[in-house]
Each structure stands twice: as structure tokens, then as C-alpha cells.
Amino acid sequence: MGFFLETLLGGLMTGMLYSLVALGFVLIFKASGVFNFAQGAMVLFAALAMARFAEWIPLKLGIDNKIIANVLAFIAAGVVMFIVAWLIENLVLRHLVNQEGATLLMATLGIAYFLDGLGQTIFGSDSYKIDIGMPKEPAIVLESLFQGGVMINKEDVIAAVIAAGLVALLTLFFQKTKTGRALRAVADDHQAAQSIGIPLSRIWVIVWCVAGVVALVAGMIWGSKLGVQFSLATVALRALPVVILGGLTSVPGAIIGGLIIGVGEKLSEVYLGPFVGGGIEIWFAYVLALVFLLFRPQGLFGEKIIDRV
């Protein structure tokens, strides 16, 4: 039982990280109808920037304090992501307004390639560490209930808190601020929003910035857990089934979908994997999402798809 709980918790933690990446997808899709394949590349780019700035800034400025250095690196990486978002909007998306979904998807694939190359050209292509001072040693809880207790990674808990905080912040931003309202209006209906004087292009820049920040947080957490290297970009591919499970347009869907996929992946790997040769977590999520799609094509929380001629 203790082992089952451990697996479950591990799954929830991974799932939360998937949710973070999926959140980036959902935000952009909601506000601009672009299926952003570059989200993974953005996560890698952000994490690379953060890891390298955390090395460079203390060297340049002579700061010893790790926390200040990390905060400065985070801010610097955030600024870089803002610039990236602005450039993407101005150089790419602005010229592709009203194109078909497939074309936009391809454009983001192009952006993904470009960011992959650019990130590694600027920041180097080795494997880097992000050290934000998370405690590494695991804690054992519930020892009285189960034999051996349940092992929890403290860094996972911290990561969960950060992610939950980010989601809460985003919710507040979307619900309470004027910009948030404008964003929701654009998500609802581009033309109507434009006709009441909401500047579309600025909204898109903001959305891509928010997605960039989400990517930065996701990259930071993944990076501090597993190190920053090229394989981080493929995290996006792992997070895609989350989006279709939760629905492309739903923020809660991304979070709950992420948790379901994370748990399903871990449980299937542990309890099903040994029978079929292991390594099934790669495709299990996809097949889960696929089977689900057959019964509910719009995803868990997606908007109902109505066909009209």
C-alpha cells in the first residue's frame, strides 16, 4: 500500500509538471487559436537562459548570495522570454493572421526549430544545472500507518507549491485584471473583441509573454529536478496528450488532465509495464487520450464541438 501511494504521489508530481507545460499550450490556443508546438522549445530555451544567467550574473556582478543570483537570473530569463514573445508576434504571427490551423501549426514547428538552434548557439549545448536550493533528501511520512512509511521528495512538494501558486496567480490575472478580461474577450471572439477596441496584436504579445513565463517556471522546476539539456524540449511531446485529454481550451482541463496523465503513466509503468516489456509510459498517455477522444472528442472540459455547414 505504501508503495502504491508512493507511485501515486510520484505520478501526481510528474503530472503537475505536465500541467505546467500544457498550460502554456492552452493559454495560447485559447487566445489566438494557435496550437503552439514551440512550447517545448520555449521551455528548453527558458531553462537554458535561466541556468546560464545563474552562472554569468554572479561572475559579472560579484554576487555571492545564491538566492539573489537566482532571482536575478529568473528576472533576466523572464525578460528574454518577453523579447522572444514580442519577436514571435511581430515577425511571425502578425503575418499569418487568418491562415488555416495547419499552417499555424507548421509555423510554430518552424519557431520550435529556430528556438532550439538559437538557444544552443547562445547558451551552449551541454547539460546544465539549475540550483535553486531545493532540499534533496526525501522525507518519510505516515510511518505509523504503513510499514516503512511513504517516501516524499521535498523538492517535489516545493515544486507543487510553486506550480499551484502560478496557477492561482494566472487565475487571478485572468479574472480580476483589465488585461485578463480583455484576454478572455479575445478568446471568446476575435472580431467582437476587436470591434470594441481591444488591440488584438497587443493581446497576443501578452499571451505569448504569459506562456513564456509559464515555460520559464516549468523549465526551472524540470531543470532543477533533472538538469537542463536538449531532452527537455521533448517534454512538450509528453504534455500533448494532456492537452487533448483536458480539452484545448480549458485551463482546469490542463491541470486535471496533467494529473490524470501523470498518475496513469506511472501506475501503468509500474503495474502494467513488466508484463509487456517496460517503457510503456511514452505511449500510454497517448493511447489513454486517444481512447478517451473516441468517447468525448472535445476532451474533459473542452467546449462542445458543434458542426455547421
Binding site: 496550437f35 515577425l91 511571425v92 503575418h95 499569418l96 491562415q99 490551423g101 495547419a102 499552417t103 501549426l105 507548421m106 509555423a107 514547428l109 518552424g110 519557431i111 520550435a112 526549430y113 529556430f114 528556438l115 532550439d116 538552434g117 538559437l118 544552443q120 548557439t121 549545448s125 511531446l237 500533448l240 496528450p241 492537452v243 487533448i244 484545448l248 509487456v276 516489456g277 517496460g278 517503457g279 510503456i280 511514452i282 505511449w283 497517448y286 493511447v287 487520450a289 486517444l290 477522444l293 473516441l294 472528442p297 476532451g299 458542426d307 455547421r308 455547414v309
Partner: protein, 358 residues
């Protein structure tokens, strides 16, 4: 003026409906075929054949397959690499387990199994479309990658999932030298391109296009979406599977699942988009572009680096290549979203009206 079609009168339906109704096109195609079968083998070097022409032919074949599904039937698929791998590994299994089967039949059987798998993964297309479907087809990619790596039966129990074939023969002729391989692939490509062209002109092809343009409306006028979509998946994956089998058997000789990774799927989709969706000729142009571009960049980048006085490392070249590739794709989508085939048809129109532009 250069491309005059007035005066070419059609007096029968047959003449009116042929693939190349204009005399100049027929002549040009004849010349191109003659050049491909006679001139190219005489002129090109072994490197040229091996590094450029054979990959181009096989990937063009695969691009035709992807174009049938994505361009003609409108079902975006990111699982093309998987169908290629199914074709390759199925053909390998036929090759190992049924020794007497002729090579051509082996390759076609590879395509047949790819078609079966394609139908299986096409089932979601009945419920979802567009971007959801694109993600759903990624499932095929991951399941196939995993299956060929982990399930020993498919690879005849080789440990790393890598398999190899040798001594390819057809009708007593060996297919060993690059030249023989080139001619073999070229024959396949020409036959399949002709079949595909005819298929998309037929009733089935028109059903696909109706589904692509508006599937609900197509269903209302009596086209069965299930039949149309699944047939598109089947035909497309058959062609892709044959291309995959050729890629493994003829181009690589020995291969592992990584040869058909998700990058291959993206590459095939790029070919279709850059070449032109819904155009058989576009598949050729797109494949040529995608195959030649990395080679050109590989040669050009160090030279440019020397001109500017910067020594570019190997990794640097690789990164720059990826960047330029990405930027070019975006640029292409912005400047010409309908692909190279559209550029060609515009050029044709200009030639037709020259020197008076209206």
C-alpha cells in the same frame, strides 16, 4: 506565348480528361522521364546518387503518401514516420520469414501492413479533426517506436531493434550499386506517382477533397465520411509504408527504429506544406527542397564563416542549420502558404500571357 494552349482543341471526352491536356506538358514530362532514366544515370556521380537522388526519390514517394492524407483528405497526420517504420519492419519480417517471396512483393506487403495499421490509427479521425487529430496520430508514432524497440518478434529478436537486409535481387538482377538502386526507386516512384495522380482524379479522390473542404457538407450530399477518411488513411499509409520499406531495404540496408522517429514525421509534413498541399507535383518539389537544403547548408555555412572570418564548429554548423531551417519554414509559410507548386502554377500563368500580362 511560351506556353500557348490555344489551338489545341479537344474533340473527345477522353482527350479532355487526360492527365496532361496540354501538349507542352506532355513533351516536358516525356523529356523529364527520359532525363531521369537515361541522362541522370550517365552524368551523376556515386555520391550524388547515394546522398541526394535516392533519398529524394524515396522521400518523394513518402511525401505523395502524406499528401494524399493531408493535402487531399485534409486529415493532418504527425504519424507518417510510424507508417514508414511499419512498412520497413513488416517487409523485413516477410523477407526473413518467407524467403521465397520476390522483392517487389515483399515491399508491397510492407505497404499492405502499413495500410492496416494506418486504418487502425485513422479511426480517431471519425470523431475528431484538425489539431486534435494531429496529436492523436502522434500516438501511432510512439507506439510504433516502442513496439519495434521492445517487442523482439518484430525484429527477429535482435537486441537493439536494428535489422539488416542484404543481397537484394529482382528477376535475377542484383540491386547493389547506387545506380541500380536509383533505377529501382525511380521505377517505383514513377509507377506510384501515376497511380496516385489517377486516384486523386477518380471518384474516390473527389470524395476525399469533398471531405477536406467541408466534411459535414460532404456527408449531407451522400459521401460516407467513414469510408472516405479510412480509405484515405489506408491508401496514404500504403504508399508511405512502401516508401518506408524502400528506405530501409534500398537506402539504408540496415536500420533501427530511430530511422523513423518523430522527426521524420515532421520532415514529411514539411515537405507537403512547402511543396504544396493537394498537389502530386508539390510532393516532388517539397521532397527536393527538404533533401537538398541541409546538404547545401552543410557546404555553404563553413564557406560563409570563412568569408566573415569566423571559424564555425561542427556543433555550431548543426545549430545554425536547424535555425535556418526553422526560419525558412516560417518565411515560406508567410510568403507562400500554398507552397512551391503554387509558385510553379503562377509561373505557368505568366508564361501563358507573356509578353502581355493581362
Amino acid at each position: 506565348m511560351f506556353y500557348r494552349e490555344n489551338g489545341q482543341f479537344k474533340t473527345t471526352y477522353r482527350a479532355d480528361l487526360q492527365i496532361f491536356p496540354i501538349l507542352q506538358d506532355r513533351i516536358a514530362i516525356g523529356l523529364i522521364l527520359a532525363a531521369a532514366f537515361v541522362l541522370v544515370p550517365m552524368l551523376s556521380s556515386e555520391y550524388m546518387l547515394k546522398a541526394i537522388l535516392i533519398p529524394f526519390l524515396i522521400l518523394a514517394l513518402a511525401a505523395i503518401g502524406v499528401n494524399i492524407l493531408v493535402g487531399y483528405c485534409g486529415q493532418i497526420s504527425l504519424g507518417s514516420g510510424a507508417f514508414m517504420s511499419v512498412g520497413a519492419y513488416a517487409a523485413y519480417n516477410v523477407y526473413v520469414r518467407l524467403p521465397g517471396v520476390p522483392l517487389v512483393l515483399t515491399l508491397l506487403l510492407g505497404g499492405f501492413f502499413a495500410a492496416l495499421v494506418g486504418i487502425l490509427f485513422g479511426i480517431p479521425s471519425l470523431r475528431v479533426r484538425g489539431l486534435y487529430l494531429a496529436v492523436a496520430t502522434l500516438a501511432a508514432q510512439f507506439v510504433c517506436d516502442w513496439a519495434f524497440l521492445r517487442i523482439g518478434w518484430f525484429t527477429n529478436n535482435s537486441t537493439s531493434g536494428s535489422v539488416s537486409v542484404s543481397n537484394l535481387q529482382m528477376f535475377g538482377l542484383t540491386i547493389e550499386t547506387p545506380l541500380q538502386k536509383y533505377l529501382f526507386c525511380l521505377t517505383f516512384l514513377v509507377v506510384f506517382a501515376l497511380l496516385a495522380k489517377n486516384l486523386v482524379r477518380s471518384a474516390v479522390g473527389r470524395e476525399w477533397m469533398a471531405i477536406r473542404d467541408m466534411d459535414v457538407a460532404a456527408a449531407v450530399i451522400g459521401i460516407r465520411p467513414m469510408y472516405a477518411k479510412l480509405s484515405a488513411f489506408a491508401v496514404s499509409s500504403f504508399v508511405i509504408g512502401v516508401a518506408g520499406a524502400l528506405w530501409g531495404f534500398v537506402n539504408l540496408g540496415s536500420w533501427e527504429p530511430a530511422a523513423f522517429s518523430v522527426d521524420r514525421s515532421f520532415q514529411l509534413l514539411f515537405m507537403v506544406i512547402i511543396g504544396g498541399m493537394g498537389s502530386i507535383m508539390g510532393s516532388f518539389l517539397g521532397a527536393a527542397f527538404i533533401v537538398v537544403l541541409p546538404i547545401v547548408l552543410n557546404l555553404a555555412l563553413p564557406l560563409i564563416g570563412q568569408l566573415v572570418g569566423v571559424e564555425i564548429s561542427t556543433a555550431g554548423i548543426e545549430h545554425t542549420q536547424v535555425m535556418i531551417f526553422g526560419a525558412l519554414i516560417v518565411w515560406f509559410l508567410i510568403v507562400e502558404p500554398h507552397g512551391l507548386a503554387k509558385l510553379w502554377s503562377m509561373a505557368k500563368q505568366k508564361l501563358r500571357t507573356w509578353p502581355f500580362p493581362h
